[in-house]
Amino acid sequence: MERSSARLKLFAILVLVMFGALSTRLWFLQVLATQTYAEQAKDNGVRDIAIDALRGEIWTADQYGKPNGVPLVENVSSLEVRIDVQELEESGLAEQVLARLSEMLDVPVRKIRGSIESTQYFDYQPKPIAEFVPEKVAFAIRERQEEFPGVYVRNTSVRDYPMGRLGSHMAGWVGQVQPEQLDEAREGEYGPNDMAGQAGLESQYEKWLRGRKGLLRYVVNSDGERIRDLGGRAPTAGGDLVLTIDSKWQQAAEESLRESIFRTRQVLDEDRGTYYKADAGVVIVLDVETGGIKAMASWPDFDPSWYVNGLTKDQQCYLDLGYRDRCAGAHEVAPLLDRAYQEVYLPGSTFKPFTALAAVKEGFANYSSYYPCPAVYVHPNDTSGADFENWSDSDLAPVTVATSLIDSCDSNYYAWGSDFWFRYQNDQLGENNEPLQEDLRAWGFEEPTGIDLPGEASGFLPDAEWGNADEQKALFPRGWNPGGYILTMIGSGYMSVTPLQLATAYGAIANDGHLCRPHVVDRVMASDGETVLKKVGGGCDRTVPYTKQELDYIRNALTQVPVSGTAQLPFLGFPLSEVPVAGKTGTAFRGALYQDTSWFASMVPANDPKYVVVAMVEQAGFGSDVAAPLVRRMIETMYGIEPGGQVISQTGQD
């Protein structure tokens, strides 16, 4: 027994060691390292599910808040069929259910299988297999739910366009959120399959439109079953955009632009012996007091609803998305481009008010003198043989600044261009040796207008630095030359502007020199329809360096254009005494491969301008033939004037 008791002590010590080991380990796990494990336990059981917020709508100014108002962009619900894979498989009826669904939805079983095997979703999330399911089918599934274990019909929301293509460029579209958007977004703002604005206002105002996701937090067990809710927060619907756009004016702009383009295509271009291509055009109506855009049409356009279900092959071909070799038949040229602000053009003679003012400002011209208007202008002492032609084949009577605008003489502008050249040549290293560019920039040219839409182009004003650069060696083998100035003076040559820049600059002539930032959104409204989340101000603080008298002088001159000048014919019969129109025609030579760009930029009513109306049609000939009648048609709509005149006229005048 002695030995036994000694051995029992040994035994007891062994036991103590074992219990010591257990206690030590428990101390480590439960006291020292408990934080780590507590977090892991929490991660185990708690799941967060985001609840999508309803995307904000887009409304035109005149429709918003009206009892029967129609939004430009709204949400529409889609009946979506989703499958809870776990539940379906546990039922043991997967085969039969899928076969029946395939028949009802008219989708091959193989495709349904593909959808439910998709790894885009977590296993505990039901996976979508069909959208826009007919009411009848959805009802059948809900009615016999026990025969469709794990199959659910859910209401989801997608974009809808009750006004069809109206304002399609402005509205833009939504699509699956892009990687770079995910990168920029804060955590939890988007799920990998969320929709986000990809163009137009949908993109520009994405953060207002998308609202704030709700969150549902709940506890799942080890099988992924939902055990209990831990609350969360409700989603906040996105704000509604209320535009400055008037839906009727927008409609008139789009319709008259389209009509004008189709009619122009039936007109023979006598210089070439072919019909005018008239492949694109723009109409802009701008409120000169605020910079708010009342209408902005760009053609060719598209139907934003195509993007809701994904583009078909034909739609991709139409949209000219770079598959020309695979697309049979005709396509339009880049219909997605909003030519009003995303594309640049030579403005032609519509540019003259700005260059004329520059010539006066720099002392090359004054308002009382007369300047020759020969058919052909040659730069002094130029022996290269470069002839600068007026639009008219014959020498015209000398012109004042005003009549040069009314009858659109080019030759005096050429001469002022030469003056600008000499200013440069005589002071090449001077501080301000290129005042023309400086004066034009004051009108906002060569910089974005700051419109609240994405992808705006800046335009371009050529100068000595550009002309002397190596890249331009082909164009200017001996460096910058007088032609650069001479052509810029008549809105031709190497410069470019967007139609919107031109409209904004005319707006500054119209409102005594204030350059307003153009915008299409007036305000963002909370979904309650009462709270203004954001007011989009135009900001008209910037002014141009000309006196009211000078601007009035220009405007008065332009008021004569439809009366007795280049736009006389297209405005025949228009009640100019009631609604005086100040405007300027423009016909821009785009190069040998293209037909001329037709322009008309106007202010209305001319005595106290409220609006600037600008029209531009590519490859359409004279400004007075196509763009001026188009503007007339637009103004008729705006002022409720009985339509008169022709859709296009044939004046043969700039």
Partner: protein, 383 residues
């Protein structure tokens, strides 16, 4: 008067007056804690399946009642009768284990066939290997208490170990590694206390190691068992499945912290993240819901239990009683250490239940029987 023993006692030495109240209280406390833990581990799942959330607890209570009956039976007769019938008991044990090898007898509900369904008694399935623990304790105690020499000679050891190994092998071929380990521990415990020479113990250890290595080499051990065993040593090389058990149980215990999440509040427990939680992993409930304090309290109860067993071994009037109590102490110790060690990630996963806390039939009955044996030795400690 203790008629069974065929002798009379003075009043103050009547066995009934010498129960070990501490042992009984500890056992009762463990059972009660176990019921709460089982409720916590099972009620949620049962409720989800529209079953009575108390059904597991109720079944455990019934088993405990049966266990108490068994305890009383084991405590009533003089333990020395066990020595008399030791050979018979051992024979019955081996026979029971052999029955499992007869096709068609063993119930196969759990995949491995280590239960015998007793017709008419659906509540209990009898697992012969569990009873083999008691059988081995009794036969070893009987053999070692009858030695001529004060310490076992090599020949004695060969006989004793032969007896133990036969039992272990029969259990082992039923793929019950856990029980095999317990049997080995019982043998080692009893041999140590019986005064086996150190050099013999060492050569025994070497021999066992060689045998185990051989077992692995000959693929006697199932792959999943090897994997589970490896989990604790090399967490990188095992499958996610095997890791999962360990990870989840360690997370459960660790997340309990000092004070625990509170009864029924443990997320790991409630949400069913710990597999086999009401049986082998019952300690995770204690760890998660009652924290370190709860775990330490349960450990202390177990320590108390072992201490009482060792004390009874020490106080026994004969070496048979000492070895019986030692065998029981070994049995409990190894089960507690391996089970809790497994739950907290310092021992491999072997499928050993935690005495009195784990849900389960036969093992529980055997534990009660073992307590009965301890009480028996304690009550009759006077010569």
């Amino acid at each position: 008067m203790d008629v069974v023993a065929g002798r009379s006692w003075t009043t103050e030495r009547r066995p009934i007056r010498h129960l070990d109240p501490a042992l009984l209280i500890v056992t009762a406390a463990l059972i009660v804690i176990g019921l709460f833990a089982i409720y916590s581990a099972t009620s949620q799942t049962l409720r989800q399946d529209n079953l009575d959330p108390l059904s597991r607890v109720n079944k455990q209570v019934v088993t405990a009642v049966l266990g108490i009956v068994l305890l009383l039976v084991m405590a009533t007769f003089d333990y020395r009768f066990l020595k008399v019938y030791a050979g018979l008991i051992y024979g019955a044990t081996v026979a029971g284990l052999l029955v499992l090898q007869i096709p068609g007898v063993a119930a196969t509900e759990t995949g491995t066939s280590n239960y015998i369904d007793i017709p008419g008694i659906s509540l209990l399935q009898i697992s012969p290997s569990e009873f083999a623990k008691i059988g081995l304790i009794v036969i070893l105690a009987a053999m070692l208490s009858e030695l001529r020499s004060p310490m076992p000679m090599a020949a004695d050891l060969v006989r004793v170990i032969g007896v133990a190994v036969v039992t272990m092998l029969l259990v082992f071929i039923n793929v019950e590694i856990g029980t095999t380990i317990v049997l080995a521990a019982i043998a080692v415990g009893v041999l140590v206390v019986a005064g086996t020479h150190a050099k013999h113990l060492i050569s025994l250890a070497v021999g066992a190691t060689v045998l185990i290595a051989l077992a692995f080499q000959l693929n006697v051990v199932e792959d999943y068992q090897i994997e589970r065993l490896l989990t604790v040593f090399d967490s990188g090389s095992v499958s996610a499945d095997a890791r999962y058990n360990l990870d989840q149980s360690v997370i459960a215990v660790g997340s309990g912290g000092m004070f625990g999440a509170g009864f029924l509040q443990g997320s790991q427990t409630n949400l069913d993240y710990v597999p086999e939680q009401h049986t082998d992993f019952i300690f995770t409930v204690i760890g998660e819901e009652f924290g370190f304090l709860g775990s330490a309290f349960v450990l202390a109860l177990f320590a108390l239990l072992i201490w009482r067993a060792i004390r009874i071994a020490y106080m026994s009037k004969d070496s048979f009683g000492t070895y019986l109590a030692t065998g029981v102490a070994s049995m409990f110790t190894i089960q507690i250490f391996v089970n809790i060690g497994m739950v907290i990630g310092i021992m491999p996963i072997t499928g050993i239940p935690l005495p009195f806390l784990s849900y389960g039939g036969t093992a529980m009955l055997v534990n009660f029987a073992a307590i009965g044996v301890l009480l028996n030795v304690h009550m009759r400690r006077f010569k």
